[in-house]
């Protein structure tokens, strides 16, 4: 699939902000299933300072500063990305989870060592008995790791309610477990915490998903949003992404932007402002397929 993603973020300040510093993780990653053809960033007012780097996890990070008084700040990232359907593993055929945990602890292969950094607690994801116990129900002894992870995803999907009002950026895993509701970020954090509690490697992935309008209705521009899910490490294969919010194994309708230990590593936009008073934030995301589904099917035929 080929997508054009527009991600706009803007701040309006009640008083002039004298200095604004921001870090953006909006540039989609290249993965075996995803190619980034283009990514353009535009910032208004034009920043006096802009710097781009690759972070510890391999994500592309932009840092910029607006150093003169401004009442508004608008950031827009436009990306063109092609995606393909990830290889599918037979979940039953994957390694038993105990063996995965053991291999991660021993990390004899470089890829296992690299994965092992996602085994530990991180600033926003604690490892706690509650979340571990919750995850353990999906992982009876000998359970193949991917089968267990899919089961965990399904349980979160069925047992937790999606509720935008129940969650903030700071909501903890324990709170989500108690309230049984949250948003995609909370579900991903919960899964990550539970898997890590079992000694498995799990990372947090941010990105987008193409939404398909109900039959007969046109797709509304701006109905999309940034999205998040989790990824579990399967030895001798690699990472498999699972979306507990939609109960889906991540497919070609997903666009990956960045991954890290938790939301804190991959927050799409974060900033610090000097002055500015109160601010109003608005975010608009649009994921548009560049070829219609029919065209694509024709091409395939």
């Amino acid at each position: 699939m080929k997508y054009r993603i527009i991600h706009n973020t803007s701040y309006k300040y009640s008083a002039p902000a004298s200095l604004s510093q921001n870090e953006l993780l909006l540039h989609p990653r290249s993965t075996p299933y995803q190619e980034v053809l283009e990514c353009q960033l535009s910032i208004v007012p034009k920043p006096q300072y802009l710097h781009c780097r690759t972070d510890y996890f391999g994500n592309t990070v932009h840092v910029f500063m607006v150093q003169h008084p401004h009442n508004e700040l608008a950031m827009s990232a436009t990306s063109i990305v092609t995606t393909s359907r990830p290889l599918l593993l037979v979940p039953d055929a994957t390694v038993p989870h105990e063996r995965v945990a053991q291999r991660l602890a021993e990390h004899k292969q470089p890829i296992e060592l690299e994965a092992s950094q996602f085994v530990f607690a991180s600033p926003l994801v604690t490892i706690n008995t509650m979340a571990t116990a919750y995850a353990r129900l999906s992982f009876p002894p000998g359970m193949p790791v991917l089968k267990g992870a899919i089961d965990l995803m399904q349980r979160i999907f069925t047992e937790f309610a999606y509720d935008k009002t129940a969650s903030t950026v700071d909501t903890t895993v324990e709170q989500v477990l108690i309230k049984r509701k949250g948003v995609c970020q909370d579900f991903a954090h919960l899964a990550v915490s539970g898997l890590r509690g079992l000694g498995l490697a799990a990372r947090y992935v941010s990105g987008y998903m193409e939404t398909i309008p109900p039959p007969g209705k046109p797709k509304l521009v701006g109905a999309d949003a940034s999205h998040a899910w989790f990824s579990v490490f399967v030895p001798d294969f690699g990472w498999v992404d699972l979306d507990p919010t939609n109960n889906l194994i991540v497919n070609e309708r997903y666009i990956t932007v960045a991954w890290g230990r938790d939301y804190g590593d991959v927050a799409p936009v974060k900033g610090v402002v000097m002055g500015g008073g109160a601010h109003i934030l608005s975010v608009m995301v649009d994921v548009a397929a560049q070829e219609s589904r029919q065209q694509q099917q024709q091409q395939q035929q």
């Binding site: 973020t9 510890y56 607690a121 948003v183 995609c184 998903m209 974060k270 610090v272 002055g275």
Partner: protein, 841 residues
């Protein structure tokens, strides 16, 4: 073990009984001074002889001097806080800790080797991570360690030096060998106290100090400075180095102030620094001044709230980005706190062989990591004999009473176990005489072009019990000066040179904006306090007389001012003609003591103390001492209010006098004086505007009290020697430029101050604050007060009221322009908005 056990002479005033007549040497503990009963070690001999030769009274005097000098230098914590909480960090014990040359050579070599090794470990961890990949260090040490900062990975520090300032705590075991207890790199503390201790000791024991061959500390600071300059290739004449402190709230702020003065690096706080274009700047009145190097006294995790997502107001947002751009030398580079990770040291013996090809010279204190089976088994077998501590997080506290084994089993890699520490004992001075205390030696090293240099000396940290020594805060511990003895004569090297070069003032007549802001507000609060006290004193004076309240003609005038200024409530009790004495007294007491009311005396005095605290390092010691007296206000509300007000007014005047007298006529002084002038002018304008109707209805007494509260009564009497008349009174208060309390005088001072402020545009009267000052001055000069008389709705009265109202408005505009132009009073704490596009699908 109690102290008195070793205290042979406690409480006995018989002299000259030898001070250190040990009755028993402790078992299983190394004794620094004695090798056996009455057998002093040779390197202690000169000190013991010197002390034994003095009688107890003399020693007590010495002790008092030591204590006093430390206090005078301001080495106390938060001197303007609650007096009850005033304590001293690392109080100095007057008996030094000597170390022989031979032994020191061993320590020095060991510390240099360890610093080299730790630097290599840092360089690898923040670079290729080969040690992690080849299994030399466990993955937990990097991935589960809060001291490893992901955002600092890949940053190449200035001069490619990953460790430039290092401290290590050593203790001496029963076998006489030194072992390492802890390593510090994130923010090593104590070197300032070591310096202060040396300064005090060399003064109090000058004879002994100069007779004994003791290695000097000053060359180390010079080495530190030169290496920094060389590394960052800074311009030698004008190096943009600052000392970055969390501010007066730090327990060891004194150390930061001292080091700043000694090294000549301006003392700055987070708010003083800003990041632009990937570089750091110091916000000064004249503009932004580039900063090329930072001597950091703030821990890793607080240094950049933006990159590290920490909610601290102390750091500088964007600092790590500047490091990425290699535009700054920070001592130590951010992320070096990896060295502080408690468990790291257990891997050093193997790492040393691997990275340096030699054996580790300084042994570690025995400790085991529960993250591997050896350590875990050890923990299981001997838990009750060992101490459990955090393996990674230095700030974590392990509750020893809880079910430790269960905790360890849930997260073994988070814990480590250590053998009990039994440090050596050294003689200490107790008020009654000598006793013994446990001690740990903190040694400091800095990077040089060739490697590392160790300070010959350091901070001996002491405590009566081991637990306080290991985990206590600086306030609970004492310290000693470490005397590293030399077999060769010591080259003279003046310690004091550093103190006379206050580089910042020499360099330019400029000031950090934060400091200027505090000076401005200090001036305003001082004047506000004085004005209010004068007003309240005038009221109390009248209440204490014989007259009934209704018979005091000027009382309504005074009360009306208090009401309008919101100092007493606006209600019928105070407005009625029939005043109730008791109620009034109650209101007045509130005006003095109510801490929750911004109009009360006690509240304003607290602001005075606060702002003083923020500029403390720029005020003379005498003036700080005067301000300490204000603490007593409000502590005894039973005292006579008149007496208290008089006393406080006197203290404030003393403080103002001392502060103003001892300050160079630089920008700090100008802002202090501007604050005072603005406040005085505002106060006066309001007094007259409010008082005008009352003055006219009841001229004589009211005029007199107006002069009294504006502190011009004596001047009036001297000048006019006549009765009180409206025109001359107002002339004296408004237009007379020779009266330091007049409006015109304040305006003329303000006009002259703004002329001397740094500015971009050379043209006169170009900036708004200059024009406003000129406008105020000209208007008051042109004010025509002749034929001013009282009368109902007299046009002059109206003219005067309009004049005063417009002056008040102009004064407010003036301060806004000054703030906007020089002080940029954006919210003091930057507002961190960490927001994401809300995830929702």
């Amino acid at each position: 073990m109690s102290n008195t056990e070793f205290n042979g002479s406690s409480g006995q005033e018989v002299s000259p009984t030898p001070l250190f007549d040990m009755e028993a040497l402790p078992e299983n503990v190394y004794c620094e001074a004695f090798s056996g009963k009455a057998q002093p070690r040779s390197h202690w001999q000169p000190i013991l002889n010197a002390l034994n030769g003095k009688d107890l009274a003399e020693l007590r005097q010495h002790h008092e001097r030591v204590r006093h000098m430390r206090h005078e230098d301001g080495a106390t914590i938060n001197p303007f806080d609650d007096s009850t909480r005033r304590t001293t960090s690392w109080a100095l014990d007057m008996i030094p800790l000597p170390i022989s040359e031979e032994e020191w050579t061993g320590i020095e070599g060991g510390v240099i080797q360890r610093a080299l090794l730790l630097e290599k470990v840092l360089a690898d961890t923040y670079g290729p991570q080969a040690l992690l990949k080849n299994g030399s260090i466990p993955s937990e040490l990097v991935f589960a360690n809060p001291n490893f900062l992901h955002s600092c990975h890949g940053i190449q520090p200035s001069g490619n030096r990953f460790l430039t300032f290092y401290a290590v705590d050593l203790y001496r075991g029963f076998d006489g060998r030194f072992r390492v207890l802890r390593d510090y790199a994130s923010n090593p503390a104590g070197i300032g106290y070591a310096l202060e201790n040396r300064i005090v000791m060399s003064r109090v024991f000058s004879e002994l100090y100069h007779k004994t061959q003791i290695r000097r500390l000053a060359p180390f600071f010079q080495t530190f400075h030169r290496a920094l300059i060389q590394r960052a290739s800074l311009r030698k004449e004008d190096p943009g180095i600052v000392l970055f402190s969390p501010g007066p709230d730090s327990r060891i702020y004194y150390e930061h102030a001292l080091l700043s003065r000694y090294l000549g690096y301006p003392l700055v706080e987070g708010q003083d620094l800003t990041v632009r274009n990937g570089k750091v700047f110091l916000k000064k009145l004249a503009g932004l001044e580039p900063v090329e190097a930072i001597f950091r006294h703030i821990p890793d995790l607080s240094s950049d709230p933006f990159a590290l997502r920490s909610e601290t107001a102390n750091g500088v947002a964007g600092l790590i980005q500047v490091c990425r751009e290699q535009n700054i030398d920070i001592v130590n580079p951010i992320g070096s706190g990896f060295v502080d990770t408690p468990i790291l040291k257990t891997f050093l013996p193997l790492l040393c062989q691997q990275l340096l090809g030699t054996e580790l010279l300084l042994e570690n204190h025995p400790a085991w990591w529960c993250g591997n089976s050896d350590g875990l088994n050890q923990a299981i077998a001997q838990l009750h004999q060992l101490t459990v501590g955090p393996a990674m997080d230095t700030s974590a506290v392990v509750d020893q009473s809880a079910d430790l084994m269960a905790k360890i089993r849930t997260n073994p890699s988070g814990y480590m176990i250590s053998a009990p520490v039994i440090p050596s004992l050294a003689p200490t001075w107790d008020l009654g005489g000598a006793s013994q205390c446990y001690n740990v030696v903190r040694v400091f090293a800095c990077a040089t072009e060739k490697g590392f240099s160790v300070m010959p000396g350091g901070l001996a940290i002491t405590a009566g019990d081991v637990e306080t020594l290991k985990t206590g805060s600086p306030e609970q511990q004492q310290s000693k000066d470490i005397w590293v003895l030399s077999d060769n004569p010591i080259e003279p090297f003046s310690m004091m040179n550093g103190f006379h070069t206050v580089a910042e003032f020499k360099r330019s007549n400029d000031l950090p904006s934060r400091v200027a802001d505090n000076f401005l507000w200090l001036g305003r609060y001082l004047e506000r306090a004085e004005g209010l006290i004068r007003l309240l004193r005038a009221v109390y004076l009248r209440l204490s007389g014989e007259d009934r309240l209704e018979e005091i003609p000027e009382l309504p005038f005074l009360l009306n001012i208090l009401r309008t200024k919101n100092i007493i409530p606006k209600n019928s009790a105070t407005e009625s003609k029939h005043l109730f004495y008791r109620e009034l007294v109650e209101y007045l007491r509130d005006a003095l003591y109510r801490k929750d009311r911004p109009e009360s005396v006690v509240f304003i005095l607290q602001r005075v103390q606060e702002t003083t605290r923020n500029v403390r390092d720029r005020l003379s010691t005498d003036s700080s001492r005067a301000i300490n007296r204000l603490e007593d206000f409000g502590n005894n509300p039973s005292s006579d209010p008149l007496e208290l007000l008089d006393k406080t007014l006197f203290t404030l005047s003393a403080f103002s006098g001392l502060a103003m007298e001892s300050m160079t006529r630089g920008l700090g002084w100008r802002f202090l004086d501007m604050g005072r002038r603005v406040e005085r002018a505002l106060n006066l304008a309001i007094l007259i505007r409010i008082g005008l109707p009352e003055i006219c209805s009841n001229s004589r007494n009211t005029l007199q009290s107006l002069l009294e509260v504006s502190d011009s009564l004596m001047t009036y009497r001297a000048r006019y020697k006549s009765t009180f008349q409206l025109a001359p009174v107002l002339d004296l208060l408004l237009a007379d430029e020779s009266n330091p309390k007049s409006l015109a005088f304040q305006f003329s001072k303000l006009a002259s101050h703004v002329e001397h402020l740094p500015r971009q545009n050379k043209r006169r009267f170009f900036c708004a604050e200059e024009r406003i000052a000129l406008k105020m001055l000209t208007t008051v000069r042109l004010l025509d007060l002749t034929e001013l008389e009282c009368g109902e709705n007299s046009p002059q009265n109206e003219m005067l009221a309009t004049f005063l109202t417009s002056m008040e408005a102009l004064l407010k505009d003036f301060t806004m322009e000054i703030s906007g132009h020089y002080l940029s009073r954006v919210p003091a704490t930057p507002h961190y908005a960490m927001i994401s596009g809300e995830p929702a699908v």
